[in-house]
């Protein structure tokens, strides 16, 4: 092939002094991401370093103590947190997913009451957690007379995270291609059969992600429990839903409030435990997401 000399278009295709702004922009973006994650890294390093002396088995084998912080543990807090998370998962996740199914698959979006439900859910997602504490105290603990029990705490937190579950489950359900629904309906399946057997299984990865985000939030909340006046020093594990309890974040808060240095070390160690539970849950989410996405 003969290489022809360029005729009319004498301007060649070479770079014509493109600004270095392009590179600066890219680097700025990347550093923003790194700064955000840098905070996380710094925080992790700090608490691990601070809590290091107490990161041993007594931490989860013993009960908290005001007398001997140096050998105290946070077992009751761990169990309390696990109880709350478990119950929240049992209550908030099914309710949230069902509500999402209603809104995505059944609700006629032109009806005022469905619009109201939607607006209400997005509003609730923004309501401060301390206000949920007021709700829990006034309505659940007192009015329903559930007292200051695991049940009250779990219901309060469930209501707190419910909007998150609903919103993310809706996203996941919406992401299931309509062709799957049509395919099922065209075979004579009913709507619920279609949802239960096609839509929900396909939406599992998205629902799982949203659920874990919601439970992560539930794990870390202290403010509603503060309002509920959950006991801070509890030297026993909850035995049931009507038992008194405490949760890790609240214990951490009370440790921070103590003046003795040992309590601060203990607080850092407890934070490491809390973060470990959090990371464990997140990895489960990622595992679920990847596993189910691979299959489908």
């Amino acid at each position: 092939m003969t290489v022809l000399t360029t005729p009319a278009s004498a301007v060649r295709l070479a770079r014509q002094g493109r600004p270095i702004g392009e590179h600066i922009f890219r680097i700025t973006l990347l550093s923003s991401l790194i700064i955000a994650l840098g905070f996380l890294a710094m925080l992790l390093i700090y608490v691990v370093q601070e809590g290091w002396p107490r990161l041993d088995s007594t931490l989860w084998e013993s009960m908290p103590s005001i007398r001997r912080p140096e050998t105290a543990g946070v077992q009751s807090g761990i169990f309390g947190t696990l109880w709350i998370i478990g119950l929240t998962a049992l209550m908030a996740l099914p309710t949230g997913v069902l509500a999402a199914v209603y809104l995505e698959e059944y609700a006629d979006k032109t009806k005022w009451y469905n619009k109201l439900i939607e607006l209400n859910i997005s509003n609730l997602a923004a309501v401060p957690s301390i206000v949920y504490g007021i709700l829990g105290l006034g309505i659940i603990a007192r009015w329903l007379d559930f007292g200051f029990t695991v049940m009250t705490g779990a219901i309060t937190v469930s209501l707190l995270v419910l909007p998150i579950v609903i919103i993310s489950a809706r996203e996941a359900i919406r992401a299931v291609p309509p062709s799957i629904r049509e395919g099922s309906l065209a075979l004579g399946a009913t709507q619920w059969q279609t949802i239960y057997r096609q839509v929900l299984p396909s939406a599992i990865p998205g629902i799982a992600t949203g659920s874990i985000l919601a439970l992560s939030r539930a794990i870390g909340e202290a403010a509603p429990f503060l309002m509920l006046g959950a006991a801070t020093l509890v030297r026993f594990n909850p035995e049931g839903v009507w038992s008194s309890f405490t949760v890790l974040p609240l214990q951490i808060y009370s440790f921070i409030s103590q003046s003795r240095e040992e309590f601060h070390i203990l607080a850092s160690a407890a934070i490491v435990v809390l973060l470990a539970i959090l990371l464990l849950m997140n990895s489960v989410a990622i595992w679920l997401r990847n596993r189910f996405q691979k299959r489908w």
Binding site: S65, I66, A231, R235, S257, Q258, S259
Partner: protein, 308 residues
Amino acid sequence: GGGDSNTGGTDSASQGTETNAAALTGEVKADGSSTVAPLTQAASELFGEEQPQVKVPVGTSGTGGGFEKFCAGETDIQNASRAIKDEEKAACDAKGIKYSELTVATDALTVVVPKENTWATCLTTDQLKKMWEPAAEGKIKTWKDVDPKFPAEELKLYGPGTDSGTFDYFTDAINGEEGASRKDYSPSENDNDIVTGVSGAKGGLGYFGFTYFEENADKLTAVQIDSGNGCVAPSVETAQNGTYAPLSRPLFIYPSAASVKRPEVAAFLDFYVNNIDAIAKDAKYIPLNAEQTAKLKSDLQALKSQAG
């Protein structure tokens, strides 16, 4: 749905001393002031070694929040850093909750300054009032404003939160009226913040319980208080014998008469009272003197007999 008590033995409660004959079960709910909580917490821990089946959760809803629950019959023991107020009495009466007031320890409110502060070794109650009274707000800005002899170092005030009994007591004792205080100080629920705040500012001053001072004696100096009878430093002795005035104060628990009928509550209270010295030390408060201890024991007996 509270933990209803079920008993191992009915005899255990009334005999005052060391009743570990039968294993008890049930739950003794305590709530209230976070200042008093360490005492009840320490009691709960020690009691747990004797009666491991009895659960004693200790909440820290504050004296006010605690009284609300207590007068609604939701808790058995109320920790209070101040005496019950009239409206709270009314609430308890309305629900038919009977109780008595037990003084379990003494606290000496300690006024602290940082180590760098060399001028304020002793302050009169008038000087304190001048710093803290509502009228001082925005006016008394430096130490020099308090007393011309002091340097013109900026005055930075730290104290417990306005909702605490400690605050109420201090304002009453110094400013003459409960709750009357300048607002532009740094309040904190967390005494540790006061330690940090005061030790970090040369012109800092704050107050809190004696315990916290002892733990931070390396960072802070305790100011001697002169209420007209010369300078007195806070200490166990001066607090117990009442010479550290007007800043030593009693700490209370309010057991409910109805709850005392339950053997596990009675056993816990017996334990509490009988070991009050060790408990106060463990909680880092100033223990009662012999006379006060005797009164505590008789008060508990009176409550029990009232409960029947």
